[in-house]
């Protein structure tokens, strides 16, 4: 139990380090937020100006914008660690690898949460959907989706951060794995917007939880190998 508590402490310390450097430098959040906003605008141009059609597509557009921007965010957070070989230093710490993974993923989660909430607000305004009417289920969906994207993103950013073709490989590897998350999150969001007429919201949220658990466990179990010689 005490080992678990120590791991949690280390994870929080790493997440705090990332959060602090983010607050001071704003490498990830600002650029990613504007990227998400631009993506939403372009979706509007691509599908608009029919308001009804945009409102129908809103849940899908929301999650695509969050996912695309999320790729940039997790990439930025890992690039931080390549300066001055910080990742090698991190790997040298005599602490459990799960704790390092958890710390990086928590940092990613913080950025993803900000991103998800801001994009949700922007979708509400741009595509005229009723966000205020279903705030709680929407926020739950955002949190669960953010956990999944942060878990998968941290893992794949760790795989690709030292590659030459990082910008292509990260989305190429990450997006197909995130497909179930996209399906479940879009369905849950659509159900929440519609007031959950068919009572399916819970089932999609459960699928999100299952995805998150599997990916967090898989990431925590394998991230150490990446630090050692990946």
């Amino acid at each position: 139990m005490s080992a678990l508590r120590r791991d949690a402490g280390i994870a929080l310390a790493i997440a705090r380090k990332d959060a602090l450097s983010e607050l001071r430098g704003r490498h990830a959040t600002v650029s990613t937020l504007f990227f998400a906003a631009v993506v939403l605008l372009l979706f509007g141009f691509a599908l608009g100006p029919d308001a009804e059609r945009l409102a129908d597509a809103a849940p899908g557009l929301l999650w695509l914008a969050v996912m695309f921007a999320g790729i940039l965010a997790v990439n930025r957070l890992h690039l931080l660690e390549t300066d001055d070989d910080a990742l090698e230093q991190l790997a040298l710490y005599p602490v459990s690898r799960r704790a390092i993974y958890a710390g990086k993923a928590l940092g990613g989660l913080a950025v993803m949460l900000v991103l998800g909430i801001v994009v949700l607000g922007a979708v509400g305004i741009l595509f005229a959907v009723d966000v205020a009417g279903a705030v709680v289920p929407l926020l739950v969906t955002i949190v669960l989706g953010a956990i999944g994207i942060a878990a998968v993103g941290t893992f794949y950013a760790g795989v690709t951060v030292r590659l030459r073709a990082r910008e292509v490989m990260l989305p190429l590897l990450m997006l197909p794995v995130l497909a179930p998350l996209l399906l479940a999150a879009v369905k849950a969001t659509a159900a929440a917007f519609a007031g959950d007429p068919f009572g399916e919201l819970g089932a999609w949220l459960q699928l999100l939880v299952a995805f998150d658990v599997v990916m967090v466990v898989a990431g925590a179990a394998t991230y150490g190998f990446l630090l050692e010689d990946g």
């Binding site: 179930p180 399906l183 599997v214 394998t222």
Partner: protein, 237 residues
């Protein structure tokens, strides 16, 4: 020599199974001649899953034992799996055109899952090509292969939930095999095709493994050559 015999047997088996599937077995009452595509289609899909399972297990083997032979098996599985996946999708589209009236059916969970499968493992192969150092490549590939394999059931389940109208799995439900509606001739042909394709798969796996080992040996020799040359330059300066 044994491998060559296996290859010859596999070739004969595939040709024989194809002949039976095309000429001997009667066409399906509802789907007509197009149903014959099902035999290689199902066999390829089965081998694709088998290949990716082998890749994931070989990845675990590498992380556990640190023996690069596991990595060669993983590479063989992924490459051959991608080929069979592409073949299964192609067969599915050929079959979908006459039977469903469209090549791509978004509501079919297995088709969309298989397309994602292709994307996952093409990414895996690209990742391998971008990493030069053998140990590092093996580790990256191993964990990406494991996570991809973990993702497959979730993808399948979520897309199935999303909505489905695919024929229910033929082999998975025994009542369908024993059901008089599926005559023994069809079942026998499918099993024959499965066996023939699996032999061919085994042959390809062995050959690809041997090739991967040869490539690794050449890489290693080139690396040693570089070291030697560097050492000679160092000594002569």
């Amino acid at each position: 020599m044994m491998t060559r015999v296996l290859g010859a047997v596999a070739l004969v088996a595939v040709v024989a199974a194809t002949f039976v599937a095309l000429r001997v077995v009667p066409p399906d009452v509802n789907q007509g001649e197009a149903q014959r595509i099902m035999y290689p289609h199902v066999a390829s899909a089965w081998l694709a899953y088998l290949s990716f399972g082998v890749t994931a297990l070989a990845g675990i083997g590498w992380l556990w034992k640190r023996d690069l032979r596991f990595d060669a098996v993983a590479l063989a599985g992924a490459e051959i799996g991608v080929i069979f996946t592409a073949f299964a999708i192609w067969g599915g589209m050929m079959w979908g055109q006459p039977v469903w009236g469209v090549m791509w059916q978004w509501e079919d969970p297995r088709l969309t899952t298989t397309a994602l499968l292709l994307a996952l493992y093409v990414g895996y192969l690209l990742l391998r090509r971008l990493t030069d150092e053998p140990e590092r490549r093996a580790t990256r590939a191993a964990i990406v292969g494991i996570v991809a394999a973990v993702d497959i059931p979730i993808v399948h389940f979520s897309v199935e939930w999303w909505r489905g109208l695919h024929q229910t799995a033929t082999i998975g439900s025994p009542d369908r095999i024993l059901n008089p509606a599926a005559p023994m001739a069809f079942v026998g042909t499918l099993l024959g095709m499965l066996g023939a394709f699996t032999l061919a798969w085994l042959y390809l796996m062995i050959r690809r493994y041997q090739l991967a080992r040869a490539e690794a040996a050449r890489e290693e020799a080139a690396r040693r050559g570089h070291l030697l040359r560097a050492r000679i330059i160092e000594l002569t300066e």
